[in-house]
Symmetry: C2
Subunit: 413 residues, 2 copies
């Protein structure tokens, strides 16, 4: 009865992988592993500077999480998340105009799981997403297995009509604070228009807000969920905005703690979806997150994070001016982790530029990965949070060399 080892057995045909596997890109994986290439400067990812991690405090929180709450954190927890953490998230985001309870809150295994769960509860094969364009690469990754259709929302296009843009969509998706990849802050009038359209059409409006605390200039604008609550101020939130938060950019991505704040009916649906995805998020990391909120650690570390990243944003923009002002344009972002650079030459193709950049020792994110159809080839996303100013200057010097090499290869072809 031992399996036959005949050649035919060894070469038996495996069932095909699911269809979406043939349509995916591997670029996020490349970015995550690019850190291992010696000498490469990585401005592709959205990585924090590890020197900012409050290691000693988190190590103490980790010990106490297990020592003081063993049954809670070592056993199976509620799918929705630990009740005190849900309460803390409700308090953090809530206000008299936006009263929130734990029924409005689901803890997720960081932001990526939030995106996956939203797709899981709202998308049948081919369902329509109205997504802010260009779109966060990770959101495209999360939704690709459900083979959605995409309608691009170009929020700053003249005559943009959100109500028409939302028609027929299962949900709309936006990153209003320092959008990934463009770093742009969505203005108040557009925020109001998006929320009004969601209310009028009934469309769910996903507000993805990983960067909200990384604000370098000027004042914060109201969140979409706050504007939505103004339609029924003081009532328990039951509106169309699905707000997503995370600790990944605010303290440490390795905790894998995020949250969704939404109408209770949406939280119930997402909970059912999470049940079959990972049953519950680790109680250990939930308790660490709760301690970081309750002790005020998040507020303590914020000024240093903002100061460091502001300095690096300025350094990156200075380096762009010094080395690349003749071939790229960009805006100085008021927050977040990225500068979005567009080639002045409409024929410059950043997908084709990337191999030259890698050869020159720099990895950026080409704009094609932020479009569901890979259509946008003229831009790039450049991260400024991971590297110090002198490295960012060297990175832009290398990028300028890569552009020269790319042009030379095109001229020769």
């Amino acid at each position: 009865m031992v399996p036959s080892s005949s050649p035919s057995a060894a070469t038996a045909t495996r069932p095909a992988f699911a269809r979406w596997m043939g349509t995916t890109n591997q670029i996020t994986r490349t970015f995550l592993s690019a850190g291992a290439i010696p000498g490469l400067i990585n401005v592709a990812g959205g990585l924090p500077d590890p020197s900012l991690f409050p290691t000693d405090r988190l190590a103490a929180f980790a010990r106490r999480a297990v020592a003081e709450h063993p049954d809670e954190v070592l056993g199976y927890g509620p799918i929705e998340g630990l009740a005190p953490l849900r309460d803390a998230i409700a308090r953090r985001l809530g206000s008299p105009a936006l009263p929130l309870t734990r029924a409005n809150v689901l803890v997720t295994t960081a932001g990526m799981q939030g995106l996956d769960l939203i797709g899981k509860v709202l998308l049948d094969e081919g369902g329509l997403i109205a997504g802010q364009s260009p779109t966060y690469l990770g959101a495209l990754d999360a939704w690709r297995p459900r083979s959605p259709s995409f309608r691009n929302l170009v929020l700053d296009e003249p005559g943009f009509d959100p109500e028409r843009a939302f028609a027929g969509a299962q949900f709309a998706y936006a990153v209003p604070n320092f959008s990934n990849p463009t770093g742009r802050l969505v203005d108040l009038a557009t925020r109001r228009a998006l929320v009004a359209a969601a209310h009028r059409t009934g469309t769910w409006l996903v507000e993805d807000d990983p960067y909200g605390t990384l604000h370098y200039d000027g004042a914060a604008l109201p969140r979409l969920i706050e504007l939505s609550a103004q339609t029924a101020p003081g009532e328990p939130y039951a509106g169309p905005v699905i707000y997503m938060g995370t600790l990944s950019k605010e303290i440490a991505p390795g905790l894998r703690i995020g949250w969704i704040v939404a109408a209770p009916e949406m939280i119930e649906a997402l909970t059912l979806a999470k049940q079959g995805s990972d049953l519950c998020t680790s109680g250990v990391t939930q308790r660490i997150a709760l301690a970081a909120m309750e002790t005020g650690l998040l507020e303590e570390i914020r000024p240093a994070i903002v100061a460091l990243y502001r300095e690096r944003r300025d350094a990156l923009c200075a380096a762009l001016s010094a080395h690349l002002s003749d071939c790229f344009t960009w805006e100085v972002p008021v927050g977040g982790m990225f500068v979005w650079a567009l080639a002045k030459d409409p024929d410059l193709d950043t997908d084709a530029l990337l191999p030259h950049a890698l050869a020159a020792g720099i990895c950026f994110s080409p704009s094609s990965v932020f479009d569901a159809r890979g259509a946008n080839r003229r831009g790039m996303r450049i991260n400024f949070t991971l590297n110090p100013p002198e490295t960012l200057d060297e990175a832009m010097r290398r990028l300028a060399a890569a552009v020269a090499a790319y042009r030379a290869s095109r001229a020769a072809a």
Copy 2:
């Protein structure tokens, strides 16, 4: 531009949820929250006894994970898992006949995510699963969103032909060690037949093994992946078995650490799937898991776990004999966490019995939830790991009272 608060806006129709949401059950959630009902004895779940958690050791591991490896555990980790943990898992499962490297290993956010990822890479809408029947409820939950077809494998049915049973399936699924829900050990001849069929047909064969270390009598049988490796002993594993392990039953479910061991091509596919599900598992809990493996803690605590659960298994079977031998039959399981009891009366419906049981203060898992079509109504799964002997006796006393009340209500109807 503030959203209108007219009645029509407040009642705008939301897009429909995805279709699978209408077909799901909420029973796992009921089990997980049943712990909160005062006085209820919960024999429904698969919960460990928290008194067995090695709290002090894990608290120390948690602190050291953060203090000694801050950049690694607080930053984004590789999607596949931390390299030393993948190596440790390869060493643990590997042998001279089954050489494994980290290319064979993916770390998952516990066993449930493993099931979700396998469905994600292998199932298009309506894809066929050949699953050991009755089937683990959580696997049905994980795959339901992809609307698969199920073919039930009744492994102990006379004339069972695995090759015919696998035909056309995207994958086969079995829990050979103390199957959930039946507690049954799949015998060696059937293991060999399953593996041979997988090799001949090319079908992926998922070996889900959460209970393998909870062995109370007799000797362990070889794993399916070990039998599979015998076709090409000593070569890097590239066969059809997809082995799933977890620390949930062996030390603590709250760590949410599991793993998949399989051919490198399958690990690569699953890694792409995990990228869009949660990007990576927390480095904090991965480092705790690694410490538990490297320090020998898992082996240290195993004898006490096995001794306690063996005693409880015996206590449950004695209580069944004392209170329910006239209306149920069962086998004494040689391992795992469950006894599977079948009603002698073919018309007894355990779905209909459950409300009487809850009224009597006991919660069990009705057999219908372990069938993709909800078809099996005559059995129940009873957990023996969470409660001490006297509570198990009281639980079976209550169950007998519930059966009497159920019968009286049927007679009256």
